[in-house]
């Protein structure tokens, strides 16, 4: 635990917050992934410093060629590719989760940085606030 006084001070500087959004659930089973990406877009529209982190079954959200029309659902891939238009460039995926599922970079719909566990730990611990989906 860090000194709570200094933490208070840094946290009240409104505009400088690093917001991390953690995506851990497979898409389409429910619409958590869709709503999480909506939240990501909103965060970015409001000018916040955003980092997206995909891990566990959440990395399945990144797969390309999702034909979700077949099950009458909105395409997550479209939402993901829209992120680039909003200058969300800090998109990371847990390399261990990708490997476990044998997903390769060229299977993914957007550019993500696949990071090792240690980097993932570091990244999470750099954020000022974490939103979990």
């Amino acid at each position: 635990m860090s000194n709570s006084l200094s933490s208070n001070e840094s946290n009240t500087k409104k505009s400088s917050k690093k917001i991390g959004i953690v995506m851990r659930h497979a898409p389409y089973g429910n619409n958590l992934a869709h709503e999480a990406l909506d939240a990501a877009l909103a965060t970015s529209i409001y000018g916040q410093e955003l980092t997206l982190i995909f891990m566990g079954d959440g990395v399945f959200q990144l797969l390309h060629q999702q034909e979700s029309k077949a099950i009458h659902q909105k395409n997550l891939e479209k939402q993901l590719t829209a992120l680039e238009f909003y200058d969300i460039e800090k998109v990371f995926a847990c390399k261990h989760s990708l490997d476990e599922r044998q997903l390769k970079q060229n299977n993914l719909s957007i550019n993500v940085a696949a990071i090792e566990t240690e980097e993932l730990q570091q990244l999470l611990h750099e954020q000022d606030v974490l939103l979990s989906f």
Partner: protein
Amino acid sequence: MILSLAIHSPPSSQASYSAYQFAKVALIQGHSIYRVFFYHNGVYHGSDLTCSGQDEFDLIDAWKQLQNEYQLDLVACIAAGLKRGIIDTTEAERYEKDHHNLGNHFELSGLGQLVDATVTSERLISFGG
């Protein structure tokens, strides 16, 4: 400290009960709650039509009382709410529905309210499942 909560679970999930207990205890301890944002299936909290049995804990009513006492800002995401049939009078008119069900102690608003809460509060705590 200034806290905000994000609740993603429906009222029947224990996560929603934990969120309420957390809020209540935090307020009693003297912390301030900037906002409680209900998202995903959490928006079902906004319904004013729930009817609990006499012997059951009424989570919706408990939030209402907490709101009364502390003037809490309880916000349900409007997009998630519309999709799940949680609407106020304005939306009922817009979508030509004869009825609405959002409680008076609740407000429908956009995701900007979540972002604002995230930035403004010193801690944001999520409840889901």
